[in-house]
Assembly symmetry: C2
Homo-oligomer: 319 residues x 2
């Protein structure tokens, strides 16, 4: 055989990333990864695809793309209250670019290490730049679903919604070098999957979703799948001071309602569990706040008034 | 919320595909699928990405794309001797095309049903047409690896190698309507993952790989990962009559050696196991034949002579 092809070389960058888990018998390099079946009764599986110029700007640092590609999946596991374990990665590149792949691998490795995930499989193909990551996780307790919210529940959300969308706008405006917007840029480049919070909420929350399409859209998913209405309080939907400073109050509120990519958790829990939720959030070191109520009915309301289509989240085919 | 978006509509086509497995607690529609952890001691995981105009021609029927997207993954599980269980699918489309998605879903559903796989997750995004599928499977016996071939083993292969590459050439030549090439076109459009054979070979074969990059390239993977040489007999590498009839002997032999996409299994087994292998293949109703020997050394040989780089398989970045 001839020497190592560039293709093989790229594949090597995806070998050995993330945590060295004892339950991985064989990682990248065979037809399939060999893993030890978990003792936990539930397995979780999710896949997300990120496309250049759709989900991330073409000039986003490779490291941030690698980080985000796994973060969005971890966020899905977080929304179920699960423990992430193993990821497989499909990377598509238009041309050989070793620096880019090395950066991508660094970002992926960093977040995988943080959350004790092993990257156990990789496929590198030629084509328009894109990344697909599948994550498998486990759960000892029943996972938290979207379709089990109950009328009367409180609606809660973690984090500072809209900041990732604001950070993208900072990036697109070329102002990422400005120190005062660093927090926004960071929210965009390095969203934090709320795994500890999700795990702490098992047995407490009735329903949960991660906010990836925008708060109103994702609250709408809970509403439609649970057969309830979600009534949000406008007064609770106040964007952070720095988000308002960058975008103005109206734009900042729009980002809060409809921007994706923060990977906050939106969840519902019984009114009687308020102090339990507060304690769980404190244990998880993740601020949460109440933003509304679950009611009989359908759809998403703001102070009792139905929200129209213009306020919903990102829809891929409608731009 | 406004009525259903086209995006949501497309997502619905990916709901409920494949077998209705009792071990699926929750399929498509939440942040992650909820599955029951298997009793089998080993879990297997693989991911493959197919890109339009790289892995399949743009005019390939949508149904064949859906079929192939899962077939290539099933073939990875077959090469380990595993039992496929759950698939998650990431579909990227340049624009809304409901007919195409419906066809894709039909093809995916058909092969998933055949092999008792449940499609438990889906992500639809906008971008250049591509499909990523992750498959999870299980194994009661130790999975068959690539890195465990032993000097002295026979080398075996299943099926009629090169026919899928020939079928692609038929397609590209616009001759797919000609009845005499129907078998080749079928080998290209509907490759058969060799799951029964792989399962039958557990405990018998020392090493296995599925032929996706081409026989010489994939035999080379066994060789390099096992630290051995694979010596193939030219006399055993004779293309099928119909493949020769379409492409001529020289081209047909090149397809046999370097064409991918047949999803045959190439495996090694001890000489003492010849009758056991033959019986296993018969039980699996999959013809196999011996094509060479594993020797001390490295690389791939043809009748004892090292094969140069020009004969190796498809390399994505070298076209």
């Amino acid at each position: 055989m001839a020497g190592c092809s560039e293709f093989t070389l790229i594949g090597r960058y995806l070998t050995g990333l993330g945590a060295a888990r004892a339950d991985v018998t064989l990682g990248v390099g065979d037809d399939a990864a060999i893993l030890q079946s978990p003792a936990d009764p539930w397995l979780l599986s999710a896949l997300d695809t990120l496309i250049e110029d759709v989900h991330f700007p073409g000039d986003m640092p490779a490291e941030a793309v690698g980080y985000r590609a796994l973060a969005v999946n971890l966020s899905d596991i977080a929304a179920m209250g699960g423990q992430p374990r193993w990821a497989v990665v499909g990377l598509t590149l238009p041309a050989m670019d070793e620096d880019w792949v090395a950066g991508f691998a660094r970002g992926l490795d960093a977040i995988a290490q943080t959350h004790e995930v092993a990257v156990v499989g990789g496929d590198v193909t030629r084509g328009p730049r894109a990344v697909s990551v599948q994550i498998a996780g486990t759960s000892a307790l029943p996972p938290i679903r979207r379709d089990t919210a109950c009328a009367g529940d409180d609606v809660w959300v973690s984090g500072r919604l809209g900041e990732a969308a604001g950070g993208l706008a900072v990036w697109q405006a070329g102002q990422q070098g400005e120190p005062r917007w660093a927090g926004l840029v960071d929210a965009f480049l390095r969203p934090v999957p709320r795994l500890c919070l999700g795990q702490a909420l098992q047995g407490i929350a009735h329903a949960a979703i991660d906010v990836s399409d925008g708060l109103l859209a994702d609250a709408g998913h809970i509403a439609s799948q649970s057969g309830v209405a979600i009534d949000l309080a406008r007064a609770a939907l106040r964007p952070s001071a720095r988000l308002q400073a960058f975008g103005g109050t109206a734009q900042a509120t729009a980002w809060l309602c409809s921007g994706g990519d923060d990977y906050a958790l939106c969840f519902t829990a019984p009114v009687t569990a308020r102090s339990t939720v507060a304690q769980a959030a404190q244990n998880a070191r993740t601020p949460v706040r109440r933003i509304g109520q679950v009611r009989h009915g359908h759809g998403v309301l703001l102070d009792g008034v139905a929200v129209g289509g213009a306020h919903t989240g990102y829809r891929h085919f409608e731009r």
